[in-house]
């Protein structure tokens, strides 16, 4: 297993399955009276959050603490970042403090990629701009596998603001790697230009896709990233691309409804759908801790040093694929890397 987790697109099938299997075992341990494990004692995990986040930060913090790692939380607000410190200088500070892993969320796509060159520890991408959010995709895949028993051949429909969604991007790559068929549904204005290079199909007609879906994943309309008018009104968006009770009735009986959160109830998802037994939204949060524990264990639990084939991969004879393989497939992310590298001055 490689040292960093920056992009879901870098994960080989063997690596992804190893993470999901490890998470499965760790989820079972969570039911014990004492769910704490001594595995990462003496290791330090820094949560470096340049963007607001509740569930992801708490989830990583809980995961690290259950494995007995020391956790340092660092948010851009109220830190030296507010005084104008660049990402690189912050990285060097963390390095000097001896961070074994840095979990970073940043508004610039590519920031974790840059950070990985500056720190000695592992870098885990907890969401960078509109690029990727690999642990979210892993927990989504984990939830699907737990609920539906498999990923191979699963028909997954991802609906909504694909353009601004790092969750959609990570899911498309990871689910493809794991053998699922992904269909994106969105207003034409919210579909990325380069979508024809993604391993998925695109539809503009939500209703017609529903009967052929095993999983429907609703995305949040990210108004904080929208500088233009992408659709005429929230009401019209909700009518055409929102999931309400009538639309949910078109799904096959076994199908599940997912949402990465936070939800805009009444916009992309109706309240009765969000609270229905098909909805996995609360499960996704619980699974998030197990999946992040698995990622931290696989990155930090073994020896540090040159990446070696993971135990699972060598056992399967699949060889050890490097997590670095095929990084920055996305033109957009490469452009933003420069901005991230230049530090906070550019972002302001």
């Amino acid at each position: 297993m490689n040292r960093h987790l920056i992009s879901a697109a870098d994960l080989s099938r063997a690596d992804a399955v190893a993470i999901l299997d490890t998470a499965e075992e760790l989820a079972r341990l969570a039911e014990r009276p004492i769910p704490k494990l001594p595995t990462l004692r003496g290791r330090t995990v820094v949560n470096l959050f340049y963007e607001d986040s509740t569930r992801t930060r708490i989830s990583f913090e809980a995961a690290a603490k259950r494995l007995s790692a020391d956790v340092i939380n660092f948010s851009a607000k109220g830190s030296s970042v507010a005084k104008g410190e660049s990402l690189k200088d912050t990285a060097l500070t963390l390095q000097a403090m001896g961070a074994d892993a840095v979990v970073i969320r940043h508004s610039a796509s590519g920031a974790p990629h840059r950070l990985a060159r500056w720190v000695r520890g592992s870098v885990v991408n907890a969401g960078d701009g509109t690029h990727e959010h690999p642990t979210q995709a892993l927990l989504d895949a984990f939830t699907m596998r737990r609920r539906l028993g498999r990923l191979e051949g699963l028909r997954v429909t991802i609906v909504g603001d694909v353009l601004h969604s790092r969750v959609a991007r990570s899911n498309v790559w990871l689910l493809r790697t794991l053998g699922a068929d992904v269909t994106l549904v969105a207003p034409p204005t919210l579909v990325p230009v380069a979508v024809d290079t993604w391993p998925c199909s695109v539809s503009y007609d939500f209703t017609s896709v529903l009967p052929r879906s095993d999983v429907v994943m609703m995305l949040r309309v990210q108004r904080e990233r929208m500088s233009d008018a992408y659709f005429p009104s929230v009401r019209e968006y909700s009518r055409r691309y929102g999931l309400d009770g009538d639309r949910m009735a078109l799904l096959p009986d076994h199908a599940i409804v997912m949402h990465p959160g936070p939800m805009n109830r009444g916009v992309e998802i109706a309240a009765d759908v969000a609270d229905s037994p098909r909805s996995t939204i609360v499960e996704q949060v619980a699974n998030g801790v197990s999946v992040r524990m698995a990622v931290l264990y696989l990155l930090l639990g073994g020896s540090s040093g040159p990446p070696e084939p993971s135990a699972q991969a060598s056992r399967d004879g699949a060889g050890g694929d490097d997590w670095d393989r095929g990084r920055s497939r996305d033109a957009r992310s490469t452009a933003d890397v420069a901005a991230a590298g230049a530090g906070t001055a550019v972002r302001r």
Partner: protein
């Protein structure tokens, strides 16, 4: 992969062949387990409050076989489970992250039970130390005992087995392989000489 991590010694003519020297055949393994089963019954008042926990990978089928022996001999049904110790190892930082095994503790829990840990090979004793730590996080057994198919010596910790299938004096360079039908398609214990020292 059937190579026990607790293994490695000195060249002898048989053990240096690729197939290794067979130390125990399937009949001998069967007899050893039957004897251990009887010993467990003797030392625990006929198996009362006994729970067998196998340490993955090969401790788990051994624990199941022992449970079947106890049922055959005296008709006692003892709970069987598995206890993965990967997350408690003291050598995690020496190797890349390992795949986790399954921990399955019977619903009754371990509190107040006589837990018999079952493993294939006892070597340094570090696995057993990790297992004791893992048990500590699950509950408080009344007593913990240790059953192993092969004790090959070279302890690095003050740990001893309560039930032993075979005491096998080895050199550190030798490698003990345990093969079980459930995991490897056949029952055998073989001794090999490693080309280089692995530890």
């Amino acid at each position: 992969m059937a190579v026990s991590p607790r293994s490695s010694g000195i060249a002898s003519a048989d053990a240096s062949s690729p197939a290794g020297k067979t130390v125990l055949g399937s009949e001998e393994i069967r007899r050893a387990l039957t004897r251990i089963g009887h010993e467990i019954l003797e030392r625990t008042d006929g198996g009362s409050d006994v729970m067998l926990l196998g340490i993955p990978t090969r401790g788990v089928p051994l624990a199941r076989r022992l449970a079947a022996r106890l049922a055959d001999t005296e008709g006692v049904q003892v709970p069987v489970g598995s206890l993965d110790i990967t997350l408690y190892r003291d050598d995690l930082r020496l190797r890349p992250a390992r795949t986790l095994g399954r921990t399955e503790v019977p619903d009754s829990g371990i509190d107040g039970m006589v837990v018999v840990l079952v493993d294939d090979v006892l070597y340094s004793g570090r696995t057993v130390r990790a297992a004791l730590d893992a048990l500590n996080d699950i509950g408080r057994p009344r007593a913990v005992q240790l059953a192993v198919l092969v004790d090959r010596g070279h302890r690095e910790l003050p740990i001893r087995p309560d039930y032993v299938g075979k005491n096998l004096p080895t050199a550190k360079r030798e490698l003990v392989r345990v093969l079980l039908t459930e995991t490897d398609g056949e029952d055998a214990v073989t001794l090999h000489v490693t080309p280089e020292v692995t530890r």
